[in-house]
Symmetry: C2
Subunit: 308 residues, 2 copies
């Protein structure tokens, strides 16, 4: 890790091991990473950061694998960060599900990495975008960030991505429908996957009606909807086109600024906790909150104004 | 909102409307709420804060409804916060799913409220625990916090709860299994719901083996596993017993402190963003991050050390 520039140069020629070590350091929140950040960000090539999310069972991993193949055909070097929920139990299941991606493991111009949520609140989003910056500096473009699940962390990661693809499937249970609906708001592109199922065109029409009508709940233009069949590759080129087409929209001044705001907000939260935890009054303050003598908001204010 | 004490007194006698208005103020993050917090927390009766989570389709809402009935039979006044993902689209579906809870709507000793995620990162968890403090001050105990989905916000809410019940079902798809596995780590009590399905006893045995063996991945005692059938009420009394039994464990000094730490961390994150956003260099800093002249971590440090 001593020479970041050499590491990044090596990565650009397809040498993945030093880059993998850097990502391990980022993921484990090593103190070595902090001093590298200005250089890491400055070395970025401006890769397109694409979030891919959707409800369980929508076939996201297979679709990501198909997208890797498509972008490779277009001569792009592809970075993939697969974000896993935090659990020792999930490893097997999720890696199993991601076996399809392994067809690209031997391709030196594809870099895949599984990121696990660890430690602090929001830590996953923080480490994910630093990892994305490292892949950008190493010359990968696009960088696909795949998330499993449908919670706050997905929405947060989507906010840090430039283009968010939400993967839907033609039919699912009611509660799952509700959850996937929650994701529509963050969608820049929608993929209706498992497009060979009979309900796919109807699902696409319903989504289109939902997104464009509904009393103008969207201030923005409804996102394009692409029907894909990840297993056969059908529709995947159109999806890649839709992703590429969104790149310039994503770089409008308004959207760049909104993304910057979210990145800084996340970094501020991390920093505030770090400093408070090493401040003098920390232990006594936690004791007071634990024994209900002090409410947490007042406690935070005292820590903030006293010792930081 | 002028007289919090009168509002809380009224709420204790079953007058729900003023309390509902207070919760609206909390949910919308009204500036009126901040000055009330010390009094609100001080007025708490020490209610048992119980998080109830699990994967989509596990029948959580029906189980919460059955638990309300059970705790009412035990003479308890029950508060319920149902946490919804942030979306205008989800309203219909989730309210539909929660119709079963409405059988308790006429009971003055049951207070139910749907909380929507809004605004800032992590805002949902912050408003949820302040809302729980309000229900505590109003004399409800236990307070059940039900979350839909399986993401970071659920884990975060679980960290703020004293006792977390994870609802599982006998069989589900592979990817859903993986996600529910991610929840097991936060479980203090596990309910295997839809217990009338043939696979239920087997699922409970598998979970028990997973939680107690597995090379001691748990530092703590494996949580109790209760088989429930929410629709018939079977097993619900046992589940309520398991929840009650966990109350004293949850109040050990170690666990109280850990919960306090999470509450303060959340409050610090909120405060850091609030102050940075009103600091002088905010706009210029965001511009620099948006144009990639400055990395977000360095930006956060400058804001923190400059103007706050």
């Amino acid at each position: 890790m001593s020479d970041l520039a050499a590491l990044l140069d090596a990565a650009q020629t397809g040498e993945r091991r030093p880059l993998a070590r850097l990502l391990t350091a980022i993921e484990s929140r090593s103190p070595d990473v902090r001093p590298m950040l200005p250089q890491l960000f400055a070395a970025g090539h401006g890769a397109h950061l694409v979030g891919i999310t959707g409800p369980p069972g929508s076939g996201k991993s297979t679709l990501v694998s198909a997208l890797i193949a498509e972008f490779r055909r277009r001569g792009r070097r592809v970075g993939v960060l697969a974000v896993d929920p935090s659990s020792p139990y999930t490893r097997g299941a999720i890696l199993g599900d991601r076996i399809r991606m392994m067809e690209h493991a031997a391709d030196r111009d594809v870099f895949m990495r599984s990121m696990a949520a660890r430690g602090e609140l929001g830590g996953l989003a923080a480490t994910t975008w630093i990892a994305a910056a490292a892949l950008d500096a190493a010359g990968y473009d696009p960088i696909l960030v795949e998330t499993v699940g449908a919670g706050q962390s997905e929405v947060e990661i989507a906010r840090l991505a430039e283009t968010t693809v939400v993967v839907e499937v033609p039919e699912m249970g009611d509660e799952v429908q509700a959850i996937k609906a929650g994701l529509l708001e963050v969608a820049d592109v929608i993929a209706v996957n498992k497009g060979d199922r009979p309900g796919a065109p109807r699902a696409a029409r319903q989504l289109r009606a939902m997104m464009s009508g509904a009393g103008g709940r969207f201030a923005r233009k409804p996102p394009p909807i692409v029907i894909t069949t990840a297993t056969s590759g059908e529709g995947v080129a159109e999806l890649a086109d839709a992703i590429d087409a969104h790149r310039s929209t994503a770089r409008s001044p308004t959207q760049s600024r909104e993304r910057a705001r979210n990145q800084v907000a996340r970094a501020l939260a991390d920093l505030a906790l770090q400093r408070a935890a090493s401040a003098e009054g920390w232990d006594a303050t936690l004791d007071a909150v634990a024994s209900r003598e002090l409410d947490p908001v007042t406690a935070a204010e005292r820590l903030f104004d006293g010792a930081m």
